[in-house]
């Protein structure tokens, strides 16, 4: 009998669940029992992390540093000096870029010392007038793709300007413009290194995995400890967060180059250097530029979240508006974030897809025509701004910089709209809210909390064993055990229940919508561009409309998570179904399949591995949003991570909990990926 069971997977899973439920119902809920909850053997990890950071910052390797203000040597630790040095370097560049857009004296004073600026009050870096930036956006868009993109880009900047969000937008933009190139260079360098050395790649992969699955918040706390609070800390968090996709896409793009091309380079007598810069990178150009697009989008997403550690910009204002429940204002800022996201996305994608004309034999003027036009127009804008300063002499110079909140605003209308929604739909929304909370979420949460730790471990390990053999079983078991041995297992269970619910609904929704849309070319294209659109803007933004509709409850977080996580489920379903070869469709048609039979017998089995990879993404997206949901009050791991931001010794806990979330992602990832790979191999789709 046992041998029979070991053959069929559904039976194996049946047995697994049977044992799971037996354990679930028969293990007593006894606080002292190890079967019910494991003792928190690892509870010291956060403390150890804190001590380590403390030692690094305040005890380890003291050096003598000359203090010019006190004119004496002072004892400081090396590590602290290094992090402070990095911080001030980063800050210098951010402020420089910021002052290009907004004007100021800090860059000049940093270069020349305080004296000069203090003596001559008139010395400062003048800002680019917003009109010049709008024109610049048009020229870039026009050069990269054409008149359409030029209009879109310039309209985006025009909008944020006249709606009074110019200053925060430029602050955010300056963070992105600093972090994106740094991420690009770091990511490209690491990617190339990983391409040439298998050992480096093997080391990088797990680090990248953890970095990409840790929630944004958990980076923030240790960064506060190391680098302090402010724009530079936000920038560093952003760099850590946004570099991994660049590394991955670089390695991927380089690996995709056919070996023949590499060999042709070698046979042309390329040195290693020539091979890299004249053959490999240009051939992988498109993948690398897609990486740049990802980097820019991740940077934008993270800079909004970096508001929590003092980065200025749209994110900061958004946070303030959300905290004081000014939904209309938050929505207005949210619109600006979305607009900037769309503009940056479109511009960088256009750059990636632009075919370079290597052979156009242009002279200096032709090559730099756009730049010259831009410079002339900027000068013109500057002159206009200068003269308009006399016209607007007693207030703000609207042709130079439209100050914060002094532009047009639609927030009264938005507020009125929200009130109207509340008045009109309050009864229905509330009924739905109560129903979901009391009849679905509440019982589900209780069921998860009633789960003995042994049964949970048995379930995940068993699933690992069935899917990927002993290796997967060990990996999954150790990842989950690590969490179970901490003080936060109950919190993790709450996170898990929310994730399960969100992923379940998103997957169901995504697969249905994806399937329906994949039936026609037009709907396929539409849904893919809708997915693109939704993936463009930072996760933060999703919270605004749900708070608007459901207030500050678990429901809001759930809905936001479901919407956010449905995007990858839908996209992968469409892509999976579309990748089924035409010949199989024809073979199906000639066997006389109906539409539904085609779906169940041909499309789904072939597309399923790809759809499962989508579900994998769904899990990560859902977890991210749930952690972010702590902003509006949930009681899971995310809440503690959020709390760590304002605690003096939060770094250890924040980091540990971030790693927990990452481990949950990695366990799911291991199971799904192993399964999908095996399945693909079986279908011969390697």
């Amino acid at each position: 009998m046992f041998q029979n069971i070991s053959k069929s997977r559904p039976q194996q899973f049946g047995l697994l669940f049977l044992v799971f439920f037996i354990l679930y119902f028969f293990i007593p809920h006894n606080e002292g029992s190890w079967l019910w909850r494991l003792p928190p053997l690892l509870k010291d990890i956060p403390l150890m992390i804190n001590n380590l950071l403390d030692n690094l910052m305040f005890n380890w390797f003291k050096i003598q540093v000359w203090d010019p203000d006190w004119e004496m040597y002072e004892e400081k630790t090396l590590f602290r000096q290094i992090t402070r040095g990095i911080a001030s370097g980063v800050l210098f560049f951010i402020i420089f870029i910021r002052e290009v857009f907004l004007g100021g004296i800090q860059t000049i004073s940093a270069i020349t010392g305080d004296g000069l600026v203090k003596t001559f009050k008139w010395i400062y870096l003048p800002a680019l007038p917003w009109t010049a930036v709008v024109i610049g956006a048009f020229i870039i868009g026009y050069k990269l793709q054409g008149i359409y993109l030029g209009v879109v880009a310039s309209f985006g900047f025009l909008y944020v300007s006249i709606f009074g969000q110019w200053e925060p937008t430029m602050e955010t933009l300056s963070l992105v413009l600093f972090t994106a190139p740094v991420c690009f260079i770091l990511g490209l360098g690491l990617g190339i290194w990983g391409y040439f050395s298998k050992r480096v790649e093997a080391t990088l992969q797990p680090i990248l995995n953890v970095m990409q699955t840790m929630p944004h918040f958990s980076y923030l706390v240790p960064i506060i400890v190391l680098f302090g609070v402010g724009d530079h800390a936000g920038a560093i968090a952003t760099i850590i967060f946004a570099t991994p996709p660049m590394v991955r896409l670089t390695i991927l793009g380089l690996r995709k180059i056919s070996p023949d091309v590499v060999e042709s380079g070698l046979m042309s007598g390329c040195s290693k250097f020539q091979l890299l810069f004249r053959v490999l990178i240009p051939t992988a150009r498109r993948d690398i530029l897609i990486g740049v697009n990802q980097v820019i989008m991740q940077c934008l997403a993270m800079t909004t979240i970096a508001a929590f550690i003092g980065a200025k910009g749209l994110g900061f204002n958004l946070k303030v508006a959300l905290n004081s429940l000014k939904i209309g204002k938050a929505a207005e800022i949210g619109i600006c974030v979305v607009i900037i996201a769309v503009v940056l996305d479109k511009l960088s994608l256009a750059w990636a897809n632009k075919q370079k004309n290597y052979f156009a034999n242009l002279n200096f003027y032709q090559k730099n025509k756009s730049l010259l036009i831009f410079l002339i127009l900027t000068l013109l804008c500057g002159i206009i701004a200068y003269f308009s300063s006399f016209y607007f002499s007693n207030g703000f110079n609207y042709l130079y910089i439209i100050p914060f909140d002094k532009g047009l605003t639609i927030s009264p209308y938005l507020d009125a709209f929200i009130d109207w929604i509340w008045e009109t739909f309050f009864y229905y929304l509330n009924a739905f809210n109560v129903f979901l909370l009391t009849s679905v979420l509440g019982p589900m949460k209780q069921a998860y909390l009633n789960m003995p730790v042994i049964s949970t471990l048995f379930l995940v390990t068993g699933a690992g064993y069935i899917i990927g053999g002993i290796r997967s079983a060990i990996v999954v078991f150790s990842l989950i055990l690590f969490i179970a041995l901490s003080e936060y297992w109950d919190r993790a269970l709450i996170t898990l229940y929310m994730a399960t619910f969100a992923v379940g609904v998103s997957a169901f929704f995504g697969i249905i919508v994806g399937t329906l849309c994949a039936q026609r070319d037009f709907t396929t294209r539409s849904i893919l561009s809708i997915c693109d659109f939704f993936q463009t803007f930072p996760s933060f933004i999703y919270l605004i409309p749900v708070i608007l509709l459901f207030g500050i409850t678990d429901t809001s977080v759930m809905i936001a998570a479901i919407i956010y996580a449905s995007v990858p489920a839908t996209r992968y379903t469409v892509e999976g179904l579309k990748s089924v070869p035409m010949s199989l469709h024809d073979a199906g048609s000639m066997s006389g399949v109906s539409k539904f039979q085609r779906w169940t017998n041909i499309e789904l089995p072939l597309a399923f591995p790809h759809i499962m990879l989508g579900i994998n993404q769904t899990v990560i997206f859902a977890l991210f949003m749930i952690v972010l949901g702590a902003l509006i009050g949930t009681e899971d791991l995310g809440q503690i991570i959020m709390g760590c931001l304002s605690r003096p010794n939060g770094a250890g806990i924040g980091l540990t909990l971030g790693i927990f979330i990452s481990f949950i992602c990695l366990a799911v990832d291991n199971l799904i990926r192993t399964w999908a790979d095996e399945r693909k191999k079986m279908l011969g789709m390697e």
């Binding site: 056919s258 023949d260 091309v261 060999e263 042709s264 070698l266 046979m267 042309s268 007598g269 390329c270 040195s271 020539q274 004249r278 053959v279 240009p282 051939t283 150009r285 075919q355 370079k356 290597y358 052979f359």
Partner: protein, 346 residues
């Protein structure tokens, strides 16, 4: 083997290529007597097994074999794109495997050119830039390399398409670019790795003709890899037939067709129409001045092309050397009849 043979441009002595982690050790243990089966059990895959051959100046050696026979691996050993596990390879008398990377780069920049099955053009460069690429890598000035590239474009018949990108060209045109690029540095040695395999049959035929025309003009030393036996017969001065990494037979097309060395080679040759492969010299008798005729035929003519006139004349013909025009043999028409209609089993 005569190691002082000045004519040989490429010389391989017992070259082995074995893939796997401890290939070198296994090879030493087996005392250079490689059994593919045993090696596979030990986790190694035998690519090339004891290959020894020479290619002399201006000669075209075609390496023929089915997929997995090790023909491409052998070519990559000789171009040192992969490192041979054991054996010696001499290029113009210099030990290839002892060269450091600088010497190797110099060698490739000046003496070697290679054409790839998948064309391997750089997607971001135009036709002209692709062809000029090896020259620029070498450090030639832009003007010089572009001029040379324009010359090459004309040579391979792509005039008017200099500024196209590879993706805008058909397969045949792309391979013309590949050929032009490999010839741009005027190499002495020309490697071609299944250059026409990815092309349609009609284009392939056209490219083979083009290739023969080029070789007629350029007279390079060539190693040409193919899986197509007919292509090998059409092009080769000598053919090496490979199976499981071993060179089964290395001989002229005539001899391979007439005297296949192994059962495996025979399988390839048995369906080949002799009259389309064999030359007159392979069926002529010794020259007999008493029995000479006024009708003369060149010794290197393919039988099929002269069969009609031979049979019409109905007498023993004089065979002359195609270069010196001296009589070197005589041909009895019955021989031709036997080839055309006779027992194929021989």
């Amino acid at each position: 083997m005569n190691s002082n043979n000045l004519n040989s441009v490429i010389r391989c002595e017992s070259v082995y290529k074995i893939f796997g982690n401890n290939a070198k050790k296994l090879l030493e243990q087996s005392n250079n007597d490689v059994d593919a089966q045993k090696f596979q059990e030990a986790g190694c895959i035998v690519g090339v097994n004891d290959a020894s051959f020479e290619v002399s100046k201006g000669e075209m050696l075609v390496v023929m074999g089915l997929s997995g026979s090790g023909k491409s691996t052998l070519l990559r050993c000789v171009s040192r794109l992969t490192e041979a596990t054991a054996g010696k390879i001499y290029i113009d008398g210099e030990d290839l495997l002892q060269m450091n990377s600088k010497q190797l780069i110099e060698l490739r920049r000046n003496k070697m050119g290679m054409v790839f099955q998948s064309f391997a053009l750089l997607p971001h460069k135009t036709v002209l830039e692709n062809i000029a690429f090896p020259l620029q890598i070498k450090g030639s000035s832009t003007k010089e390399s572009i001029n040379k590239a324009i010359e090459m474009v004309e040579l391979v018949g792509l005039k008017g398409r200099e500024n196209y990108f590879p993706r805008e060209l058909s397969g045949g045109q792309q391979q013309r670019v590949g050929i032009a690029r490999s010839l741009a540095v005027e190499p002495d040695i020309w490697f071609l790795d299944e250059p026409f395999s990815a092309l349609d049959p009609l284009i392939r035929k056209e490219m083979q003709d083009e290739f023969l025309r080029l070789q007629d003009v350029l007279n390079k030393t060539i190693m040409f890899v193919t899986h197509d036996f007919d292509e090998a017969l059409r092009l080769a001065d000598r053919i090496a037939i490979m199976k499981d990494g071993i060179i089964e037979q290395l001989d002229t097309p005539d001899n391979i067709v007439l005297n296949p060395a192994t059962e495996y080679v025979r399988k390839f040759t048995q369906d080949v129409p002799r009259e389309k492969v064999l030359k007159i010299e392979s069926i002529m008798d010794d020259y007999d001045p008493n029995n000479s005729s006024s009708t003369k035929i060149p010794s290197n003519a393919i039988i099929e092309t002269v069969a009609e006139s031979v049979l019409e004349s109905n007498e023993t013909l004089t065979v002359i050397d195609n270069k010196t025009n001296q009589p070197i043999g005589s041909l009895n028409p019955s021989k031709v009849i036997k080839i055309l209609f006779g027992d194929k089993e021989n």
